[in-house]
Amino acid sequence: MFTNRYIFIYSSVMVIIVAAVLSSASSLLKPFQEKNIRTEKMMDILKSVQVSGEKSEAEKLYDQYVIREEAINSKGELISVYEGGKLVQGDIRPFEINLKEEQHKLDELKAGKSDVEPAFPLYVCEKDGNKYYVIPMLGKGLWGPIWGNIALEADFNTIFGVTFDHKGETPGLGAEIAYKPFQDQFIGKKLFDDNGNFVSIAVVKGGVKTRPPDKQIHGVDAISGGTITSNGVDAMIKDCLENYIEYIKNHNNS
């Protein structure tokens, strides 16, 4: 009673209708979703400098605390500055930079496959008269991407605060990176040793206490049972901050 012809036409019509409904819903809801993502990004940056507030106020708080956005290239040169609500230098607002694309550009550049310079964002925040520099990070966890922000004090060495988040790390294990106990360990740790060499922050399996006393300032405890996520955080901090070393050195010398 149902011919093949009927079935083919039926399925085609059904699929077209469904596609039309879904694509119109998607384009209708897109502005709302993008706003959510934007708000979250702002709140994450603010959280790393220990500013918390209602999500509805994200935009306002962001404008209040983040006084300047910068972007640097792989040589640590300033290529873009956004300040006081307008672009002062360069052609892209650092906030709009997609870190994943820039990391890809860097890989291509390092491999010699292209000569397009990546742009890495840096947020300059001011809170209670002190300046803080927030560097966004993106890396790999066990199951998917992990990301976060690291806020440095004006010496570009001492960590003021960090945030981490993840797409789908194991709850109770790797997912603990998104919570306060893990993140609070980073506060006060230092990125550079006494000679000014970059040593990053190690996420130490077995606990940072196993390290020599002079190394403990450069490490935090890994998460038991979350080794791969912990290693991911370790690698993410190192890889992402490395791009800023030249900039930091220039900054400290000037």
Binding site: F2, Y6, I7, Y10, S11, M14, V15, V18, V21, L22, A25, S26, L29, F32, Q33, N36, I37, E40, K167, G168, P171, G172
Partner: protein
């Protein structure tokens, strides 16, 4: 899958009441048919995601039932599963998009489990067992009933897991307010892990069967 309700019952309202009530207890999708267990374990750590998940499942189930019921005479039996899947998948994607737009935090907590509503056996089971052979209105009632049957288990499980695991109810620090921590009580970390959801579902099944003798198998 049980075809428990005869499709041609003249008493419309009585039948509808039955369609709503039966899945809550005697034909409960989770405790009796043991379907949809995966998401019941995954999203019940906190009350809020459990409630949002419940509403999502109820919505998807009710609308999928109605749509399939409307189409039931036009669907060729050979492709009925595909048609059902397309309808379910489309509705689930819609729900996911809406959550991302208007309940972003919760949608992040639910993560993949909203998408996995597509694979929830309850939904396809109801489409196959009920909507393919019934009119839209009873199908709608059946969808709401089964969705609610799934929902109340989820919410009960989530309530106890959040209360005993995190000491909160809907994020409110109830245990702290009661002052129970001062006498040496601590939160049970095991409650946060999925196995405890299984144990709570087990306890619900136990209570339910001890009250309802017809559910006891030989």
């Amino acid at each position: 899958m049980s075809a428990e309700v005869s499709p041609k019952e003249p008493l419309f309202s009585a039948k509808n009441k039955k369609l709503l009530a039966v899945p809550l207890n005697r034909e409960n999708p989770i405790t009796v048919q043991v379907l949809g267990i995966c998401s019941a374990l995954a999203v019940t750590v906190k009350l809020e995601p459990a409630v949002v998940m419940s509403i999502s499942v109820i919505a998807v189930l009710a609308f999928a039932n109605v749509i399939i019921s409307l189409l039931r005479n036009t669907i060729a039996p050979r492709i009925r599963i595909i048609v059902q899947l397309v309808v379910i998948a489309a509705l689930v994607i819609l729900v996911d998009q809406i959550l991302k737009a208007f309940a972003y935090e919760v949608s992040k907590q639910l993560s993949v489990f909203v998408g996995l509503i597509i694979t929830n056996c309850i939904i396809m089971g109801r489409l196959e067992a009920f909507a393919m052979g019934n009119k839209p209105w009873p199908s709608f009632m059946d969808g709401i009933g089964n969705g609610a049957g799934y929902a109340w288990i989820l919410i009960v499980v989530a309530f106890f897991r959040e209360l005993l695991g995190s000491g909160t109810v809907w994020g409110l620090p109830v245990m702290e307010k009661v002052g129970i921590y001062n006498i040496g009580y601590t939160n049970n970390g095991l409650m946060i892990l999925p196995p405890m959801a299984l144990i709570i579902v087990g306890i619900i099944i136990w209570v339910q069967r001890s009250k309802n003798k017809e559910l006891i198998e030989d």
